[in-house]
Symmetry: C3
Subunit: 203 residues, 3 copies
């Protein structure tokens, strides 16, 4: 139940942040929906294709499409306020990241995959939506560049894999989500990030 | 039979328009083929992967690959004329859009999916080729930005879903294609488009 | 055995060249891994999804993920030297291209596909990693623009298809790889490339 609520919170937050980001590129209403959809459901879709886990999450539950569409529509109306409430949305986004990644790892584990695939499945579910959003918006994906975003997604996935044989599904899930959420908030607050690799080829 | 002819017309038109568009980015001949292929067959391929509908259309019918390649090659020779005949090609493209989208919805319905998935399957089949073309050409996808392109693709899909239980497959297909085609032509003629959402984040 | 060694050489070379290329975009360490992964394993993954050939190569063999990660990490430390040893890496890359493409065609053939699909499977396996790298780095894919890269990948695939009924798997594979490798080296040495198609739409 709680997972389900958190999952919807995550989808709404990602759809809204995708829609607001799309505003920068002067897209039309369809563009807003498309980018919101890619941001909120793209990561899970790529994961499902990657793991041969059909039907895709939003095909099994088509009402997600409308949750995304309505969230995106509301976001275009309230963009000014969403942007001002940035801190609040960063918290929702951190929650979404932790929930999506842990769920992604759970799906990989339920299909019989091991640590590496669970971790990557978590990363793809949590972080690939943002990558798709930026690819479609024709900018360098932000998460390749800063903040412990994808790393935390991998961590949630890996942590769940380590914990669930000892603690059981529910407790492992809760801990993985909590850890990911707290780490993400700390990473934002203290601007923790990975070292940048900068290198210019000679010519 | 007529569907089949319209389908080829659509593929040829999309491949040619993809090839001509590629010329702007100074790609080589392989690049022309690649972009033409992505434009003409990319949408259908993404749809097939999304719906777990294997083999992909061009793997089941490899001769489509040559239809695309020959169309693209001809387009590089006749680019000047194709560009001057823009109006004629817009009509072919509108036809292709309507045919592809309706077919996409039919495939989703034949796999047992409902209204939402049929509509999105139509949209992906009809409009994703253009999105892939622009992603590979490193520009912001045009259809996120203007003209009722993707919306008409969704409409064809949704309309077919609504009509076929009452009118049967053939009539529903014909009507969906006709409606999509006429709407697209009207949208071009009267420059009808969705409202633009423009929003700059504060920093 | 030799194939296996060549395959690892190919993965290491592609991962390193991907990582060095990523340095240009000032990505963080995760970004380096991501781009290296897309470059080295992206082509094979797209091929597997396209052919419904599950599990994906790196899901069946998760240790590839670590081979890529370690190669990428080493590349960030040794970027200066890798860049100076450009000629050596071009040779490794040419080898990787020939090996990957021929393997890609073999997989398509083993699934019962014919000439066209084998050729495209070779092309996707050998060349799509570089396309994904450039799409994620937000630049126009290099291989759409110059050098007989993708064409050689198609050639390896097609050649293997032609030869294996007469010469058997092993000899056909060896010859396809050798031909691809030599052609790629010649194409680099003599700057052989396809004609460029340049066309500006009137407006």
């Amino acid at each position: 139940m709680i997972m389900s609520v958190l999952f919807y919170v995550g989808i709404v937050a990602e759809a809204m942040s995708g829609a607001v980001a799309a505003g920068r590129y002067k897209v039309d209403l369809f563009g807003v929906f498309f980018i919101a959809f890619a941001t909120a459901l793209g990561g899970g879709s790529i994961r499902d294709v990657m793991l041969d886990h059909y039907p895709l999450l939003w095909i099994a539950n088509p009402h997600y499409v409308y949750v995304v569409a309505i969230s995106a529509l509301i976001a275009t109306r309230l963009a000014y306020y969403i942007d001002r409430l940035e801190r609040f949305f960063l918290i929702l986004d951190a929650l979404g990241l932790a929930v999506f990644s842990t769920l992604g790892a759970k799906i990989a584990i339920s299909l019989g995959h091991g640590f590496t695939v669970a971790m990557i499945s978590g990363m793809v579910t949590g972080a690939f939506g943002g990558i798709l959003r930026d690819v479609f918006c024709n900018t360098l994906p932000l998460i390749l560049r800063k903040e412990l975003y994808a790393v935390i997604a991998m961590l949630c996935g890996g942590l769940h894999w380590f914990l669930y044989p000892y603690l059981g599904e529910d407790l492992a899930t809760t801990l993985a989500i909590l850890c990911g959420f707290v780490l993400r908030i700390l990473a934002i607050k203290y601007k923790i990030s990975l070292p940048i690799f900068s290198f210019e080829k000679h010519q």
